[in-house]
Amino acid sequence: MTYLQIFVSFFQIGLFSFGGGYAALPLIENQVIDVHKWLSLAEFADLITISQMTPGPIALNAATFVGTRVGGLLGAIVATIGCITPSCIIVLMLAYLYYKYKNLSTIQGVLNGLRPAVVSLIASAGISILALALFKTEVTTLLNVKFSDINIVSLILIVIGVFVLKKYKSNPIHVIMASGVVGFIIYALIL
């Protein structure tokens, strides 16, 4: 029964989280802490920390974390499948409709309106990621940032990274890995 509960919970999380990872967090909190009491509040905070320091979509990280705690490896797999099932059904339907009707002027109009908005949403998420990388302390607003809050090593790494990507069209994954190595050398060995 537990596996069914895990599946249903993460199915709901997948189904009702519009707008990506951070929008899913309150839903996960509700299901995992309030409804089923699978995690304590401290464990939930750990879950968010782990999600932020590990790769992959937050909802899937949460699914695996909670699933493992509640039902071991099988629990993790069931939670992950529950989380992606709504996406599979809904997005496949949308994909089918899009490729069938993409030449309709209304669909084209909708997409013409959406494309610039998508660029903005990615840019707005990019600003948060930049702030997270650039400042030593958690910055909530850009209005009262002091120059001394800037992490100079990060700033230099970012500038070099952008330059290398622009100039040599390097593979982004190589740039991220190289930054990790440089970070290790500077923060762990030198500073």
Partner: protein, 191 residues
């Protein structure tokens, strides 16, 4: 493009490595997918990729999962969608299963934190590079409506913290009215 075993393997490896190396969730993976599928592999065109992202964002569920379903479907139908969703979902499953076992040891390990700090800067550089490219592409087309949508939705997201899903819906409806001639039809009926 031939849909042989080699192609599916390449699709799997591509989505797997994107999911395995991108810290920070959907909005980080999406620009990297664009870079990989549009610029490196040249499997999908720029404008179509933005359509794919727009559709993925208007559906519920993790954006990275939705985008990989759409991309896989575009490249190789339902089978392609399942191959790319498997590639996207496996890394979090593996990594979190391992990490949650060693979480207490990892949490306060200074070497791990040093690598993560460096990688954050690398991720920020990758995102900045992609944003510059995407904004540049919109500006180059000199379509005033697109530019206005981009600026307003950026302000809505960054300054007013409006939910991404709501921005998507409003821009979609706006686009349908402006571009598809619905407005003219509507006016025509009134005359």
């Amino acid at each position: 493009m031939e849909k042989n075993l080699k192609f599916y393997f390449k699709l799997f490896i591509t989505t797997f490595s994107l999911s395995a190396f991108t810290i920070g969730g959907g909005y980080v993976i999406v620009p990297l997918m664009r870079q990989k599928f549009v610029e490196e592999l040249k499997w999908i065109e720029e404008e179509e990729m933005l359509n794919i992202v727009a559709i993925s964002q208007s559906a519920p569920g993790p954006i990275a999962v939705n985008t990989s379903i759409m991309t896989g479907y575009r490249l190789a139908g339902v089978l392609g969608a399942f191959v790319s969703i498997l590639g996207t979902a496996l890394p979090p499953l593996i990594i979190i299963t391992v990490v949650s076992k060693f979480y207490d040891a990892i949490k306060n390990n200074s070497s791990v934190n040093a690598v993560l700090l460096g990688m954050r800067a690398g991720v920020a550089a990758v995102i900045i590079n992609v944003i510059i490219k995407m904004v540049g592409d919109i500006l180059k087309k000199k379509n005033l409506t697109s530019i206005i949508i981009m600026v307003l939705s950026f302000l809505a997201a960054v300054v007013f913290n409006i939910n991404a899903a709501l921005i998507i819906v409003i821009c979609g409806v706006f686009g349908a009215i402006i571009y598809s001639g619905l407005l003219y039809k509507f006016k025509g009926e009134h005359k």
